[in-house]
């Protein structure tokens, strides 16, 4: 187990190495020029050239890459070309709303999706199953931003009872944070809920058709105990996989939700950086997001040991 863990941890190094090369290469090769954006629309070619020279944007790619990689290994992700603030500080300033939003959306989706999926599996072919299946399809098909607008104009504009944008920060209190996060978490969780519902239903149907469940029913075990003690435990592995991956995806910044609700999270930081060609910020966000994704992937793998004793890592 320990050996496996060390091997997995070490395997992160080449993965991240490839990630750095890909991230740097993509940002270097993508069209656009930060010096042009920084100088503004009415700048002269001479002014742009001066800025490009100051920012070393005219240097060849290989020396630039190794200079950047050296800085990254020292924990320095560089400074934003525009605000001149350290990239790491910029990312950290945006992490709080993204993490809270991701946690809230995950909670919303798991709390709704798992019971719905189990209900559909239990009543397979019935009205409840058809309604849940319809919800599963609709949740995947309806664009998330449309759900967001519906929530904003229903609860924010029509009823005037909910904040429709922004993020107040944890220092403003849990209640205030909850008020601001409820609508975006619902929007974000909607598509995830549909996905998790479908996975839960499919996995549960497979388990509920197995012989040991029939035996349990024949022994007179009540349905609640069968679902909670036997079925849920067996479908935990695919559930944890999908929940973990969607959580990791959300931590990378949920661009549409953050845009619709004007939440200053990591996703918005990345989109703004891409629009302005703020290369150090793009590289920093992608690098950290990739690292988080790899790390959560590892944690999900390790969680299988807890959920399924038959799994052994050697």
């Amino acid at each position: 187990m320990i050996r496996y863990l060390i091997t997995r941890m070490l395997s992160i190094i080449p993965v991240m190495g490839v990630v750095t090369a890909v991230v740097f290469g993509l940002t270097y090769l993508s069209p656009g020029d930060a010096a042009v954006v920084l100088a503004g629309d009415y700048a002269s070619p001479a002014q742009i050239a001066a800025i490009r020279e100051r920012l070393h944007l005219d240097a060849p790619i290989v020396p630039q890459y190794f200079h950047w990689l050296g800085s990254v290994l020292r924990g320095d992700l560089g400074n934003s070309i525009f605000s001149e603030q350290p990239v790491l500080a910029l990312i950290l300033s945006r992490v709080e709303p993204t993490i809270i939003l991701a946690i809230a959306a995950t909670l919303v989706s798991v709390i709704i999706a798992v019971p719905l999926g189990l209900l559909a599996a239990r009543k397979r072919g019935g009205i409840a199953d058809q309604l849940v299946s319809f919800f599963g399809i609709a949740g995947t098909a309806i664009p998330a931003f449309l759900i967001g607008y519906l929530l904003i104009f229903t609860f924010g504009v029509y009823f005037g009872s909910m904040p429709i944008s922004g993020f107040p920060g944890l220092d403003s209190g849990a209640w205030e944070v909850l008020r601001h996060v409820l609508l975006p978490a619902t929007m974000l969780g909607f598509a995830q809920t549909a996905l998790i519902t479908r996975i839960t239903r499919a996995s549960a149907i497979e388990v509920l058709n197995q012989d040991f469940i029939r035996v349990a029913r024949a022994k007179g075990l009540d349905e609640f105990t069968i679902i909670m003690r036997h079925c849920l435990r067996l479908i935990a592995v695919p559930l944890v996989t999908i929940v973990g991956m969607s959580f990791a995806y959300m931590l990378g910044g949920v661009v549409i939700t953050e845009t619709v609700f004007a939440i200053p999270g990591v996703g918005r930081l990345l989109v703004d950086a891409i629009q302005h060609k703020d290369v150090p910020v793009i590289q920093g966000v992608l690098l950290i997001s990739s690292f988080v994704y790899v790390l959560i992937n590892l944690m999900v793998d390790l969680s299988y040991l807890f959920f399924d004793p038959r799994i052994k890592y050697t």
Partner: protein
């Protein structure tokens, strides 16, 4: 007032549903002394000398002041300056500052600060460079007075009152000592509000606090000139990237002012009695032409473009509501001091494809695709790009319409390569009305070849006339030269005009003293009617 049964039911239903869905979640009301503004884009850099970005200018006008500002008649009036003495030959200006002026950190504003600020400004700003080219020396007379000595006459107050580009903001000497390509991080300012750089987080709401050390003028406000009173204790500017969310914020009273909303959203808010949908600053629509590659290096090909444009048609497509656009054939705008439509001798009115086709043939157009850059993330410009592509095709030209975001376009436009080798032929753009109204500041009218703006128009006639305009003495002489410039431009065609339009501005009906028509929105002298 009696309420109908239906109304009572509706209100009761809303109250009940509100309680049911979100009891206790009521939003907090806005503080009376805080002005809340939706920013058009996120503030990326705080240095108005490094960038010409409009967002940075809006920020800078809150925290800095200038020696002179333009009034509504386009006259440069003293602002931080108290008076200016001009020699008879207009080659010497002695400028005296007002007494008791202080920066936001409490330090006195002296001529040392002013001279260093002007030095940094002149190294970057287009007008500043024109001044620098005519400057013999700028010398300190005492702590409140300095002298500008010129080799040729030049309207110094007008240059120092420039609104767009890199305006001549006054900063402390220690800040202005930075090289003009290095960004400042010390935001100590000379204006009505102050900004804390250290607590600023890009992407989040930025906050401006009333500057207690600022001493406003007592003259009545007029455009940018006169009294600049910080009437609100605090201004919060939030970047709301989604227009529908911004609209919802205006509807729910979370924001007071929304400059430059998309036209569709602005028109949707027109019926709301709590909001005012006003005309904002005007812009000159145009196509930037690449003069250094075929086919538009030939004037006949450029003339062909004028026969493809029906200004009314293009504005109906790109802008929509006729309240917000009008046709205009004046190179220096129909709204400005020097605009002269009668000087324009080119094509007007409906498109004439046969004539355009004939002119393209005379220009030796070889049938190779004309590259039109299409900024799809800017709806108005996108519509103009599509229009031009369609008109060119109707005239028998091959078109390569290349879609990209504006940011990519700004990089692409630097290329002088032939269109077939990664270059370009034309793209839609605008000039803000105020700088477009003067030969001194209209970037795209400058035809100084390699030193010109992208497209690199090159015409000695225009340049000689611009030089004469800069040195001209009185307004009538300037107007005469401006008309000659426009007549010359209508035969050389440095760019192709598509008419003028105004942006929309939405603000709450209880706001007064707000001037939506300024090229860079400012937030002094504004009050809430209830206060």
């Amino acid at each position: 007032m009696k309420m109908s049964a239906n109304s009572r039911k509706s209100v009761a239903r809303r109250i009940m549903l509100s309680s049911l869905f979100a009891g206790g979640f009521f939003t907090s009301t806005a503080m009376a002394d805080t002005l809340r503004v939706i920013a058009d884009t996120d503030l990326k850099t705080v240095d108005p000398i490094v960038t010409t970005s409009g967002t940075t200018l809006v920020h800078a006008y809150l925290i800095y002041d200038k020696l002179f500002e333009f009034d509504k008649d386009g006259i440069a009036r003293p602002e931080l300056a108290d008076k200016v003495d001009i020699s008879a030959d207009k080659k010497s200006y002695t400028i005296t500052l007002r007494k008791g002026l202080k920066f936001s950190d409490g330090g006195a504003i002296t001529t040392d600060d002013v001279l260093q600020s002007l030095k940094r400004w002149a190294s970057r700003d287009q007008t500043g460079q024109l001044l620098a080219a005519r400057l013999k020396e700028m010398t300190k007379v005492d702590d409140l007075t300095f002298r500008v000595e010129l080799s040729q006459p030049f309207d110094v107050p007008a240059a120092l009152a420039g609104i767009t580009g890199n305006p001549a903001f006054i900063m402390p000497k220690r800040v202005a000592s930075l090289p003009p390509t290095d960004q400042l991080t010390d935001t100590t300012g000379s204006g009505p509000y102050q900004f804390d750089y250290t607590s600023w987080k890009p992407g989040q709401t930025r906050i401006y606090i009333k500057n207690p050390n600022y001493v406003p003028r007592n003259d009545p406000p007029s455009f940018f000139a006169g009294k600049k009173e910080a009437t609100f204790d605090k201004i919060e500017m939030s970047y709301v990237p989604d227009a529908n969310t911004a609209m919802a914020q205006m509807l729910t009273g979370q924001q007071d002012i929304w400059p430059g909303p998309p036209m569709d959203n602005a028109l949707a808010l027109k019926a709301n009695p709590d909001l005012v949908v006003a005309k904002g600053f005007f812009t000159q629509g145009l196509y930037v032409i690449n003069h250094v590659v075929r086919p538009f290096d030939n004037v006949k090909a450029r003339e062909a473009l004028t026969y493809l444009i029906d200004q009314a048609e293009i504005n109906r497509a790109a802008v929509g509501d006729q309240e917000f656009w009008h046709t205009c054939y004046a190179y220096l705008t129909c709204e400005g001091t020097y605009g002269d439509e009668s000087a324009y001798t080119g094509h007007r009115g409906a498109a004439d494809f046969d004539k355009a086709k004939k002119l393209l043939e005379e220009a030796g157009y070889d049938g190779k695709p004309i590259v039109v850059l299409d900024p799809t993330d800017w709806s108005e410009a996108h519509a103009r790009a599509l229009y031009m592509a369609q008109q060119l095709r109707k005239a028998g030209a091959q078109v390569d319409l290349q879609a990209m975001d504006w940011s990519t376009l700004t990089s692409r436009r630097t290329s002088k390569a032939p269109a077939s080798e990664g270059g370009w032929n034309l793209f839609p753009n605008i000039m803000e009305g105020q700088p477009a109204s003067s030969p001194l500041t209209h970037l795209m009218l400058a035809a100084n070849c390699d030193k010109a703006w992208f497209g690199w128009p090159c015409d000695k006639g225009i340049e000689d006339l611009r030089a004469a305009f800069i040195s001209a003495g009185d307004l009538s002489e300037k107007k005469k030269i401006a008309s000659e410039i426009q007549a010359r431009a209508s035969t050389y065609l440095p760019f192709i005009m598509t008419g003028e339009n105004t942006a929309a501005v939405v603000y709450r009906a209880d706001i007064e003293g707000f001037n939506p028509e300024t090229p860079e929105v400012y937030f002094w002298n504004i009050r809430r009617k209830s206060k």
